[in-house]
Symmetry: C2
Subunit: 198 residues, 2 copies
């Protein structure tokens, strides 16, 4: 399985936002929506053995699981609606028990550290870094977990957490990429090196 | 310079479409908008020596030129607005003379064949194909022009035109990608092979 964690620093934690203003009042939810599209869509199929976890303002995490996912379309607006639906059920998310809010989409009341702790038990955390080993020269880990940030850089304490959990530090190329583009390149890297255990 | 041509088979040719329904009544303009974002955005910068040409229903071509581009944001909706603005000036586009409709964005009254004819004089047309040479094993051409299709496959006559103009046939990986993801991977390929002449 391939997993992605994306930190949405300014992302909404309540469903009172407009789908017409994802890039504005919704705290750049457009970035997170594009990450979901990059994580799952192939030309005429969905990548099934993939999960993406959107961390909303360090308070909730919305997880999309390719094995059960339904009703996902590639445009930002419809993905934003799935996140909004998930936030409508936030009162049901008690402790760290996820609530399924639509097929393949669940909401958990946990922030970045708790999400990273949980996922690092299921796979190998990869830190993307400009000084990392060039990805194309390295064999990828089994069950990689890529950690990304939205339009903001990682905060110092977030970087420290990634450092602590990461087993590998990779560079995807010489140019700094948007999170959704990094997901696309990471998939292509894993596809191209013939990584068969995902 | 790197160039991309994207065919929008169902794309609008008049500005009477809603930015709230890019993936529906606007003929999947969301796909073309994401292609623009993939063509230009780096993490905190715009790729300047890039052009992308959106062919709208074989009637108009809207060109975004990174050297002059202003007012581009990464979300689909704002890019859709630039395309809509361009279509508002369509009466000014006479013959094959482009009309600049906002800084770095121009509209030309020409379809796929005329656009491909013009651009193939400025660069080397690359055909992306599952049976092409794996990109990572091949040196890219100088001034590559990648030709892509929206959510539909190329029509037979479009494939014939690409065949006729292409100097190289490449595969970007084993999985068939959405056009915007293919642009991201193509950029990463060109970045990573240290292609310096763009």
């Amino acid at each position: 399985m391939r997993q992605f964690v994306v930190i949405g620093h300014d992302a909404p934690t309540t469903p009172e936002f407009s789908l017409d203003d994802l890039a504005g009042a919704a705290g750049r939810l457009d970035v997170l929506c594009r990450c979901v599209t990059s994580a799952f869509f192939l030309s005429h199929a969905i990548r099934e053995d993939v999960r993406i976890h959107l961390v909303l303002a360090d308070e909730y995490t919305v997880t999309f699981d390719g094995n059960n996912l339904r009703r996902l379309n590639p445009d930002e607006r419809s993905t934003g609606a799935l996140v909004r639906n998930a936030l409508e059920e936030r009162a049901e998310a008690i402790g760290h028990i996820p609530v399924e809010t639509s097929p393949g989409v669940s909401l958990t009341r946990r922030g970045f550290e708790a999400t990273l702790d949980a996922i690092s038990r299921e796979g190998s955390v990869v830190q993307l870094h400009e000084d990392g080993d060039p990805a194309i020269e390295v064999s990828p880990p089994t069950n990689p977990v890529f950690v990304l940030s939205d339009h903001h850089d990682f905060a110092a304490e977030e970087t420290a957490l990634v450092d602590e959990h990461a087993t590998q530090r990779l560079s995807l190329g010489p140019e700094p990429l948007h999170a959704d583009h990094a997901i696309t390149v990471a998939h292509n890297y894993l596809d191209t090196v013939g990584f068969t255990e995902y």
